[in-house]
């Protein structure tokens, strides 16, 4: 039961949240499913690595790799899948808490939370960047081999 409660359910929630967001970003058909699966994979990696900044980096790299591969498989830009699948990881709570500390006047806590949030955002961006660059190289090499 703990496996279901700790791992499967959150991944399912992440999957459903991503599918719901495809309606908002006007994504249709197979791409909706890809977004959902991407969100689930990302969240799984994130909780397996204990929700640290490094976990965010690894999760973003996993999502990036997945959406680059799916972009080749179903022939669509990776932007949409990436945008939606990253949503659950995105530091929304951090920004909210940081700003509420700021309004409260708790500058120490505000700075601490703000820096952590920026770190998470940078880790996500770096993760996406890594898988983007690697996939570019790999796919270019494969095309060179085919020719």
């Amino acid at each position: 039961m703990t496996i279901i409660n700790e791992y499967l359910l959150p991944c399912f929630y992440s999957f459903m949240a991503c599918i719901s967001f495809t309606l908002v970003f006007n994504i249709h058909g197979r791409e909706q499913l890809v977004c959902g699966i991407g969100g689930a994979i990302g969240w799984l990696v994130y909780i397996l690595l204990d929700e640290t900044i490094f976990a965010a980096f690894a999760a973003a790299a996993a999502i990036g790799a997945f959406s680059e591969i799916m972009a080749r498989v179903i022939r669509c830009p990776a932007t949409g899948n990436l945008l939606v699948a990253l949503l659950p990881l995105v530091p929304g709570g951090g920004i909210y808490y940081a700003m509420s500390y700021c309004v409260d006047g708790q500058i120490q806590l505000f700075l601490q939370t703000m820096l952590h949030t920026l770190g998470v955002a940078a880790a996500l961006a770096a993760g996406v960047m890594v898988s983007f660059s690697v996939s570019r190289t790999v796919f270019a090499a494969r095309q060179a081999v085919k020719k």
Binding site: L9, P10, Y13, S14, M16, A17, I19, S20, F21, T22, L23, V24, F25, N26, I27, H28, E31, W43, C76, P77, T79, G80, L83, L86, L87, P88, V90, P91, G92, G93, I95, Y96, A98, M99, S100, C102, V103, T117, L118, A121, A122, L124, A125, A126, V128, M129
Partner: protein, 253 residues
Amino acid sequence: MDYEKLVNLATDLGCRLMASGAEIYRVEDSVSRVLTAYGVESPEIFALPSCLIVSINTPDGRPVTRMRRIGPHGTDIEELDIYNAICRELCADRPEVGEALEMLTLIPAKHRSFKPGMILCGYAAATTFFTLLFGGGLFDAVSSMICGAAVGLCLMFGSKWMGRNSFFRTVVCSAVAAFLALLLSRFGLGRDVDTVTIGVLMLLVPGVALTNAMREILAGDIYSGLSRTAEAILTAGAIALGVAAGIALDMTF
């Protein structure tokens, strides 16, 4: 070849890509590919989130430049897919420039979009599952579904009475979210108000904007990255203001 028309075509395509939410490097890359496919040597393209400048030198040495301002816009992945496909088609087939311009004007008819009711369901379901994901219980989820639907309504239909200013709109939406979450918890719906509020605010919070900003900085588009960061901070400020207003409103009851 009519280079003025060619520049118009490329700028139009770039603008539409940008307005559908493409990244800066994708816009610059697409415009440059189209121009190169039509035989322009080393076109110069510079894109910012709010502006696109395209400049080419014709073979007889005459510079042709076009600049377009890009207004506030959302994200529409369907549109992005279509314009991306068009860009590939132009590069591969190189139809006459006039024909290509006509192709661009025909696109809005092809464009699918969801019904407003469906989008509203999307908002409500997204907030529900975000609240569950962040550790909320069943009642929290129901509460955040109601709040999410309310915020979705404000986002979709509120522009009539709130104006087009996104700062003010974010303030109002987050005030609605915080106030409703507190109000519902008073009626026994939702125990963990913080989780509900964060789940609902995921619709507004500039997490995506901040991550995209970082991606653009890493990709080397420093100006765009910085302006997007500023936008994200502004939105975060608006949310904080709105939530404070919502809590204050709840105190008065």
